[in-house]
Amino acid sequence: MNELSAPSPAFGEEPAIALTRTPAFEARLKRRYAAEKRFRFFGLAAIVFSLAVLLFLLVTMTMNGIGGFQRATLTVPIRFSQAEITLPPETDSLGVAIRSLEDQGLPEFIEAETARSLGEEASRQLSPDAWRVVAEQLIDEPSMLRREVELDLPTSKNLSAALAGDGHADLQPLARSLAEQGVLAKRFDPGFLSRSDATDSQLAGIWGALKGSILTMLVTLALAFPIGVLAALYLEEYAPRNRWTDLIEVSINNLAAVPSIIFGLLGLAVFLWLFPNLRSAPLIGGMTLALMTMPVIVISGRNAVKAVPPSIRAGAMALGASPIQVVFHHVLPLALPGILTGTIIGMARALGETAPLLMIGMRAFVATPPDGFTDPATVLPVQIFLWSDEIDRGFVERTSAAIIVLLLFLLVMNGIAIYLRNRFEKTW
């Protein structure tokens, strides 16, 4: 004990004052505090900087994207009482009903009504699909047929561009005058979330790509999660430590670092060779992305399994639990939060992936949402990529809106995963 409380002779003569009270010591102490302050300042600055960048991204995205959730519409009073139109029976499917209305001359009637109230020139600038909007509303609410109603009808993309101040110069006076009358304006377009891709930016929607993404992610999760977790459990709990398992470990780590487009080529060469009829299908897309996600889940899963305290395993084993009971009753539940964290990261990466899906044909123009896992589909990031390539200015805003939808989807997906993780989190 004596060696600790008094300075040892190796420090020289017994000092007049204790070593910890010399001016040199106090100067050193000051420098230590200064270093700490500096470190805290830099840390805080880093966080402020990242928050600022995030905020900038979100604000610009929202500003640009809000326009994408709107479209230019003309407010047209329509006297249905003047129309010689009878509604098809309610038993008809939507498609049949709409076709029946088309055959009865609804498109021409709508155009005539527009020409009557807004002029011949304006009626030519209605979107070619404007009558569909009317048809759908009619089928929804048959009582309209006996009244005069004001409907917001989409304009052509040229008039929409003119309203924004560019596009054809000869349309701009018309756009200005209609806007001054208050009949032409950009209005919220709920259909953006329920329509699919179209060549006309006024008619394009995100639902097809969103549904494609949901289906693809379901396939990815259904394949990558169980396979990844089982692989992680086997490697940690059962596999012997030898050259082969070392080789497998290195391979999995490398697999996680392989550029995603290589997985696309693999999907093209293997999955599409096996199932040539499923080009562009969410099933194939999901399988390809699962290949990419699985190594991430295996790596995080192994770390999570490794972090389960050995004392819990020993406790269960000493009670006579069989190895599989130890794994499924104790190790897996305790490792689940960690596994879910890895799954979030892997799935988020898969959701944002474009390159591998281009290789397996998910970049096709798909105008109808997929009905199942084997229908041709596209996904959100590919849709964004395709739209960002369009010349039509209307697609610029649609692109930003699609990005917002993608980010919201990501947020929802991660929210669910974090909720699950917190539910399973346990302390020991």
């Binding site: 084993m317 009971q325 009753h329």
Partner: protein
Amino acid sequence: MVTELTPNTEPKMRARDVSVFYGDKKAVDSVSIDIHTDYVTAFIGPSGCGKSTFLRSFNRMNDTIGAARVEGCIELDGEDIYKSGMDVVQLRARVGMVFQKPNPFPKSIYENIAYGPRIHGFAQGKAELDEIVERSLRRAGLWEEVKDRLSDSGTALSGGQQQRLCIARAIAVEPEVILMDEPASALDPIATAKIEELIDELRGRYAIIIVTHSMQQAARVSQRTAFFHLGHLVEYGETSQIFTTPREQRTQDYITGRYG
């Protein structure tokens, strides 16, 4: 070396020339010992003397360490537990264990106790399981303290309560032998006293082996004491004899505090 005592029954467990290796290192060197249900047996000795390793070979927990290898023979009711075809799961249900650090499962108190009986299918229905849980907790002297909060997490208990919970968890499987690996070394004196009281109450119902660092504890709870040194069983006899008139010089040196 087999130390003959005067047992009035057949030994519950019998170890003959047991050696345990970690890789090339011999941790336990041909130890033979008899364990009876009538009394508590204490293993004492300085750190690294192999007493814990030897204890863990009684329920084959050494199997879980890849590099460990056991030679010799350990019998439970005359049956070699290392013979091929021996069911380790069944063995561990018959030979329970309590560890140095309390290791309750991160589940409710009820689930901690019910887990063993449930995986072995001891209880038909909830009522029977409730009964087992209550009986085990009562036997471990924990019932009065936790009966109103059985659904609380086992990890929320104090250290001493956690250790008694682990003992109750071991009892719930109705083992024949309970191995205790320094069960009180992580606990304060009051909690230690409770554990020692509990061990005394459990004596006779189960064959108990306790590994301990503390010679006072061995003297308080055990009737037989085995002194280990460098992997050898130096001396085995009645606790009172070991502590008052040890036959071996090394035992004498250890219990009088000359090393250890």
